[in-house]
């Protein structure tokens, strides 16, 4: 699954890069070319979203049926590891599909403007949102003995953090630290990419560059504020 997704992603990036380079070299209408690229990109996104949602749905159903099955062919430890990993995978799948569906909706409304595809992406946004909320609720099915908050409860995040034990906090801190560092690097890279994009396509990305810069500054300030000596 991972390899297929990777290959698909490389194929899409390779196709887009090659197509754009050819268009740039032969000096044709870059605006029109980008619209075509965006259209096909959103089609690929829609296919990926549907695939992710289907996979998340099947994995969720399997997890729930295994949770209810008292005669499952697994030890307690194996089942706990399986359910933890399943919960993780389902959460990632639904979150990625939500992000992709918003991206696809943006492309459809601004660049491609195909009414049927706009309707389809709006539906996918709502399904992804619904599945994301349902994915959060899975934690109470996986861990019925733990006193965990229900999604939608007031101060859900604080309550969930308070219910987390020290080992889980340790794993989360390590993961957040590495993903935070990666996010900063990627945002910086995105800013540089946008500058080049603005120059090549003559489509100003100044607003997005300023927005990314502000996010990076707020992120850094928030981190410094949280770790300061009190």
């Amino acid at each position: 699954m991972k390899t297929i997704l990777k290959m698909l992603l490389y194929a899409v990036i390779g196709f887009a890069a090659g197509y754009l380079t050819l268009e740039l070299l032969y000096g044709r209408n870059i605006g029109g070319t980008l619209d075509v690229v965006y259209f096909w990109l959103s089609i690929v996104m829609i296919i990926i979203i549907i695939g992710l949602l289907l996979y998340a749905f099947i994995r969720r159903r399997n997890l729930i049926s295994l949770t209810k099955d008292k005669n499952r062919n697994m030890t307690d430890d194996e089942f706990d590891a399986y359910s933890y990993n399943s919960f993780n995978v389902i959460t990632v799948m639904t979150s990625v599909s939500l992000i992709l569906s918003f991206m696809s909706l943006a492309i459809q409304t601004m660049a491609a403007e195909n009414p049927w595809l706009i309707v389809l992406t709006v539906i996918l946004v709502f399904i992804s949102l619904y599945m994301s909320i349902r994915a959060s609720a899975l934690i109470n099915i996986v861990y019925p003995d733990r006193n965990l908050p229900e999604p939608g409860e007031k101060k859900y995040n604080q309550k969930l953090l308070a219910a987390t034990d020290e080992g889980e906090l340790f794993v989360m801190a390590k993961a957040l630290y590495t993903s935070g560092a990666l996010t900063s690097a990627l945002l910086f890279f995105a800013m540089i990419l946008m500058i080049f994009y603005s120059i090549i396509t003559e489509e100003s990305q100044i607003f997005s560059i300023i927005l990314l810069g502000l996010i990076m500054i707020i992120n850094q300030l928030k981190y410094s504020y949280e770790i300061r000596e009190k």
Binding site: T75, D76, A81, D165, E166, G167, E168, V171
Partner: protein, 67 residues
């Protein structure tokens, strides 16, 4: 830090999930400690000592250099 948690669990016929319930932590925490990727707090170490009826230093063993 070395830990004898896995050995003591086997001695008392406990799986990670059962030990986690007794120690009031998650199974992931037990797994982390057993893999020696995480040094538990004094509170959890004391709970382990009570569960296995062993002193803390018999469960969690430090090198001289670490102390």
């Amino acid at each position: 830090m070395k830990t004898r948690l896995r050995e003591l669990r086997a001695r008392d016929s406990l799986n990670q999930t059962q030990l986690a319930k007794l120690a009031k932590v998650s199974r992931q925490t037990i797994s982390l400690i057993e893999r020696e990727e995480y040094i538990p707090s004094l509170l959890i170490a004391k709970r382990m000592a009570n569960i296995f009826n062993e002193p803390i230093e018999n469960i969690f063993i430090f090198d001289e250099e670490e102390l």
